[in-house]
């Protein structure tokens, strides 16, 4: 692009490329053409008109190019958001489906409970209800302790740009709190509204903590129904000391208070893994009763295969 004769009269040395670029951004060809024209060698008449036409065509192409580029840029944007919108829509649809199914499950559960009450009646229902309350299958109500745990400050390291996660509540902290509450005599525990059962899991998945595969977020409220001194016992026990240490070292928030008249919901799902018929069907009973009692045993019998997970 740098033709020798173009800038020869102005330059006595050849600068490097970038300097040349900054100093003289115009194509030297224009100067050459002007010089040719001054010498009278430029195109004239018909040739000049053709060249003007070509220039006009070039400009048409340029306008075309600009519009295409603009449309392309504009079109790219909705493409990305469209995909995202579809995904959001799907998530919301599935979520409302889940809610509907959950409502139906609750309704059917209530029906089953009512039918059972009318069929069995008396002491058997009371015993069942107690068992359900203990295992987390039925909502319970009572007084006990309310433990609140919150993340501490998570400053961003100015050098590395990484967020410090030291002061976050971990799954092990929640596990420790739950175990300490059980040990202190709690009868029912829920974490952020998720009722714990004998088979509940509290796990970390990335930054989220999952209680029975439902994500829970800070601040964590652990409600436990149990003896009146539950909160004091928790606070003075090893868990209370541990959390106080966390508070003083990492700035987490921790609070354990007594609470009255709390209602803990039933666990959302309790998978039946193993079921054994503990009383053999009475031989003297009618055959229909025998097949009737075999049926409830029949459906759990295929669940041990799933119970392996």
């Amino acid at each position: 692009m740098t033709s020798a004769e173009g800038g020869a009269e102005r330059r006595t040395y050849t600068p490097d490329f970038l300097t040349e670029l900054f100093r003289n951004p115009l194509d030297p060809g224009y100067a050459d053409a002007a010089a040719r024209k001054a010498r009278g060698e430029g195109p004239t008449g018909a040739r000049q008109r053709v060249l003007t036409g070509v220039t006009a065509l070039t400009l048409v192409a340029l306008g075309f190019l600009l519009v295409i580029a603009y449309q392309q840029t504009v079109a790219d944007e909705p493409e990305a958001t469209k995909a995202r919108d579809t995904l959001i829509q799907q998530v919301q649809n599935r979520r409302s489906d889940t809610d509907k199914l959950q409502a139906r499950a609750d309704q059917l559960g209530n029906e089953v409970a009512q039918l059972r009450q009318s069929e069995l009646g008396g002491a058997a229902v009371a015993r069942l209800r107690d068992l359900e309350a203990e295992t987390g299958l039925a909502p319970v109500r009572g007084s006990g302790a309310k433990i609140t745990l919150g993340d501490g400050p998570t400053p961003i390291n100015p050098v590395t740009g990484n967020r410090s996660t030291e002061a976050r509540v971990r799954d092990s902290d929640l596990q420790l709190a739950a175990n300490a509450l059980w040990a202190a005599g709690a009868e029912a525990i829920s974490v952020n509204g998720q009722r714990l059962t004998a088979t509940s899991t509290i796990r970390q998945a990335g930054e989220a903590i999952l209680v029975d595969f439902q994500p829970v977020t800070s601040p964590y409220t652990i409600m436990a129904i149990g003896p009146d001194k539950l909160a004091e016992a928790f606070r003075d026990g090893y868990a209370g000391k541990f959390f106080k240490e966390l508070v003083s070292r990492y700035g987490m928030s921790f609070d354990a208070t007594s609470a009255k008249d709390m209602t803990l919901d039933a666990a959302t799902e309790l998978k039946l893994r193993v079921a054994v018929v503990n009383t053999p069907p009475p031989a003297s009973g009618s055959p229909s009763a025998g097949s009737g009692s075999a049926e409830p045993g029949g459906s759990p019998s295929n669940s041990p295969s799933k119970g392996g997970r």
Binding site: L21, N24, Y30, V54, T55, L59, L62, L65, A69
Partner: protein, 110 residues
């Protein structure tokens, strides 16, 4: 005047026909636009300098676009497409800046 009319005609054509760019050519579009802008600002500056030349403008426009696309293509094949695109944009950007500065001096005497 003809130039402005031609530009407008191109824009109208683009809007009317609304062509879709094949995906294979899409990476070259931004580079082609920058290269074309470089040629245009060079032409405008030459016009103001009084040394505009049709042939020079057409050749520089086509050559700019083709060379820019070629460099990006080559970079893509070699696996340094992003860096080469950046290089092309920097070089053409500097030229555009210089030419716009010259145009500004012509128009505002400052």
């Amino acid at each position: 005047m003809i130039a402005v009319l031609a530009l407008v005609a191109g824009v109208v054509l683009g809007i009317v026909f609304h062509p879709s760019v094949p995906p294979a050519l899409q990476p070259y579009l931004p580079i082609a636009v920058v290269a074309a802008l470089d040629a245009v600002f060079g032409g405008v500056r030459a016009k103001l300098d009084g040394i505009f030349d049709d042939r020079q403008f057409v050749v520089s426009f086509i050559a700019n676009v083709v060379v820019a696309a070629l460099i990006v293509y080559l970079g893509d094949q070699l696996g340094v497409g992003g860096q080469l695109s950046t290089g092309v944009v920097v070089v053409l950007g500097v030229r555009i800046f210089g030419n716009v500065a010259a145009i500004r001096r012509h128009l505002f005497r400052a």
